[in-house]
Symmetry: C2
Subunit: 128 residues, 2 copies
Amino acid sequence: MRLRELETLAAIFETGSASEAARLLGVTQPAISRTLARLEEKLGFELFNRVNGRLVTTRRAEAIRAEVQNLLDGLHNLTRITDQLSKGRVGELRFGCARPSCSNSLLQEDRRCSNSQARHGSTGQGRS
Amino acid sequence: MRLRELETLAAIFETGSASEAARLLGVTQPAISRTLARLEEKLGFELFNRVNGRLVTTRRAEAIRAEVQNLLDGLHNLTRITDQLSKGRVGELRFGCARPSCSNSLLQEDRRCSNSQARHGSTGQGRS
DNA sequence: TAAAAATACTCCATAGGTATTTTAT
DNA sequence: ATAAAATACCTATGGAGTATTTTTA
């Protein structure tokens, strides 16, 4: 169960066709068809019936629709968090201290359980 | 943000080392190290500090730990559902009907909005 | 004819393996 | 010497593209 497969599935749910799903995801129609075909093969059952050249949602597909959307929502939330964590460094502060022992006790690096290993030096960098 | 990256991250969280995470996921240690390195590169910040040859969780990694676990739990739930949907066909029932029109009105195939297209025939297969 | 889906290729990035190196205990 | 992590090199596969075919309205 790949992530791209979930995104593809959700896009087809949302748009109702492989062609529209392709536009939504910014890829080509064959990419959607193949990903869907491989997913159905792995799952062991059909997610859409091909009727009159169109995709028609099966009952089994409907049964997992909510959970798929749930997962994608959670993933987007995680992405939002990591984006903030990466560009969200409030600024890099630089400290000066007369004695090495001072910086050791005052500076907290972005690590855990390793205070005793902090390297000695009169200058340190702290991240907020 | 690949799925395998989330699984790798969770495994390191759980075991505390890349080697143990590798055993947990049934892959080799280099596989874990590389996946982690690529994830950190994409995210733009470090998830673990390499201190004395060991991985030590950063604050940023702690900040996403719960959400990562959430997503994996949701995925496992989805997998459980699809497993049941695939092997969970209660049995294949076979019906016989004197007149074709009878099976048309009584049998519901695993498709939607296509009753008018159901093929005629005195025998049909229904999935529960 | 137009539109949707499927198929047949080709290409590249990811994920995996084995072997080896580096570093710290 | 051991153990953890990183690195180098190789292979397989998933996902993407373009081009084409099939089918139906």
